[in-house]
């Protein structure tokens, strides 16, 4: 345990449409906040990992993102890199930082997500490769194919997707910094414009400018801090890189393979989880993960979320700050930050009572990548 790693600090910029601010301003703001939150100084940081969001990842594909950010932060670290795993990247770099700290490669690794897709909109619209020939545009199309498949296999109804969106808003209503805090009715949801059936506009997450950062610290250094920290209990990844070549690609996420390993490595069961922060770029992905992580049987996620099952006070509170659907688009790093705040007992009005174990997941690209972490309160 002496070589263990903990999360010692979290911080983020404001989120929203921020045309006056560059990604670099947002990311350095988040970095400063995370290091200060841990009670450390910039000179204490000896590792840097970054998750450039979709717009930056494309724009700056040649110059590595960590190089540009590290220069601005004045870092000459012992360990550095950027990862492009889509929405799985933020959870992925936190997991990688834990490995690096546990291996002794560095002792204070800063993990930074940031992007300005609203201020650089040209970089954000995409149809990958030949997909554009068929009008297969946007991540919404890929997820609509999965949603249709879920409805076909299990009879999942639009109202059950709607429950996910309503719950996100109910959590956001208790979260001062969330961007979409107005409660929704099921009628509001059903009246939402169809985009790629069966998905409606309200099934799609928002797009935001902003940045978020997490400081992973060695347990040895953390012992000298006054601040309470959060333990990293286990991590697991699984990826489905074949897309169409994988016969189950639309029936389950790669999480179906990583989830059992994640729980086994921590010696825990799904029933031990007090709250889950599940990547929710589209409502359907949250439903699929409830099944993949074993919170309910396959095909039963629709009924699991009914009657406020994942809402505040539900049997499993999910995305307690509103997630990508209602808090902001924080790349997945805001999911990590919310887990840390809950496990430190600092979540205010939305605090989950006695929260001691949190699941955090990331999911990305064409439903190709998946990363997961189990985090535990330090008590």
């Amino acid at each position: 345990m002496s070589r263990g790693a903990v999360i010692a600090g979290v911080g983020h910029s404001e989120f929203g449409r921020l045309p006056g601010l560059t990604p670099w301003q947002l990311e350095t703001t988040a970095a400063r906040a995370a290091v200060a939150d841990a009670g450390l100084e910039p000179g204490d940081v000896d590792g840097l990992l970054t998750d450039p969001g979709p717009a930056q990842g494309i724009l700056d594909g040649i110059t590595p993102h960590f190089l540009r950010l590290g220069a601005q932060l004045g870092l000459d670290p012992d360990y550095a890199g950027s990862e492009i795993l889509g929405g799985a990247g933020s959870v992925g770099i936190v997991g990688r930082a834990v490995l690096a700290v546990e291996a002794g490669l560095c002792s204070a690794c800063l993990c930074v997500y940031g992007d300005s897709p609203l201020s650089q909109p040209a970089a954000f619209g995409y149809g990958r490769g030949d997909d554009a020939v068929f009008g297969f545009f946007g991540a919404v199309g890929m997820h609509a194919l999965a949603a249709r498949r879920h409805a076909h296999n299990y009879g999942t109804r639009p109202e059950q997707l709607g429950e996910v969106v309503l719950a996100a808003r109910a959590h956001a209503a208790l979260t001062p910094h969330a961007l979409k805090r107005e409660l929704l009715s099921m009628d509001d949801y059903l009246a939402s414009k169809p985009v790629a059936e069966p998905l409606r506009a309200l099934d799609c997450c928002m797009v935001s400018d902003g940045a978020a950062a997490v400081l992973v610290l060695s347990a040895e250094r953390a012992a000298r801090l006054e601040r309470s920290t959060v333990r990293v209990l286990s991590q697991a990844q699984a990826h489905s890189l074949q897309t169409m070549g994988n016969g189950t690609h639309f029936d389950q996420l790669p999480a179906a393979r990583s989830a059992p390993r994640l729980f086994e490595r921590a010696g825990l069961e799904p029933s031990d989880v007090d709250l889950a922060l599940l990547y929710d770029c589209f409502s359907i992905v949250l439903l699929m993960q409830l099944e993949d992580y074993g919170f309910c049987a396959r095909g039963e996620a629709g009924s699991f979320v009914e009657n406020g099952g994942i809402a505040p006070g539900g049997r499993l509170p999910v995305n307690t700050s509103g997630g990508l659907l209602a808090e902001c688009y924080g790349g997945g790093m805001m999911h990590v930050i919310e887990a840390v705040r809950q496990l430190r007992g600092e979540a205010g009005e939305r605090q989950v009572a006695d929260a001691s174990v949190a699941l955090v997941s990331g999911h990305g690209l064409g439903m190709n990548t998946h990363t997961g972490l189990l985090l535990g309160a330090d008590r």
Partner: protein, 153 residues
């Protein structure tokens, strides 16, 4: 400026990609070509330098029968490109030889598409391109039988 505007409204072209150039060239001649592994018999799409199942590079190209079924689909109600107005159907088609591909289902009302529907390849002209799309098999079943999730060879 005029040229730029025309580019924006022209039907999207296939990506300029060494891996898939031969596939699109064959489409221009009215064939949907699958890559075939001469060692293990696996058929796959998109084309690649080796068999994704056994990693053999002993491969050749076979024309698909063009018969298949709808694994899943979505009806786009929102338009993303001026040359592709909604509503239109994007579907995952599983060819009878095994490979899956993204395409469109045409020749029927968008709301009539079903998972498991039997379909047949058609080439449709879009600008100077022939696009492989699928329409319901004439006289075939249009039921909702379970699309296969297993692998065929």
């Amino acid at each position: 400026m005029e040229e730029k505007a025309a580019t924006k409204t022209a039907h999207p072209a296939p990506a300029d990609d060494q891996l898939t150039a031969s596939f699109w060239e064959a489409c221009q001649h009215g064939s949907l070509m699958m890559t075939h592994c001469r060692d293990c018999g696996h058929y796959f799409l998109p084309p690649g330098p080796c068999c994704p199942r056994c990693w053999s590079s002993y491969i050749d190209q076979h024309a698909a029968s063009g018969r298949g079924q709808v694994v899943t689909y979505t009806v786009y109600r929102h338009g993303y490109h001026p040359a592709i107005p909604p509503p239109y159907v994007v579907a995952v088609i599983e060819l009878d030889e095994g490979p899956r591909m993204v395409s469109n289902v045409t020749g029927l009302d968008s709301d009539a598409v079903r998972t498991g529907m039997r379909v047949q390849l058609v080439f449709e002209q879009a600008g100077d391109r022939k696009i492989p799309r699928f329409e319901p098999t004439s006289g075939g079943t249009t039921g909702t039988s379970e699309a296969s999730t297993g692998k065929k060879t």
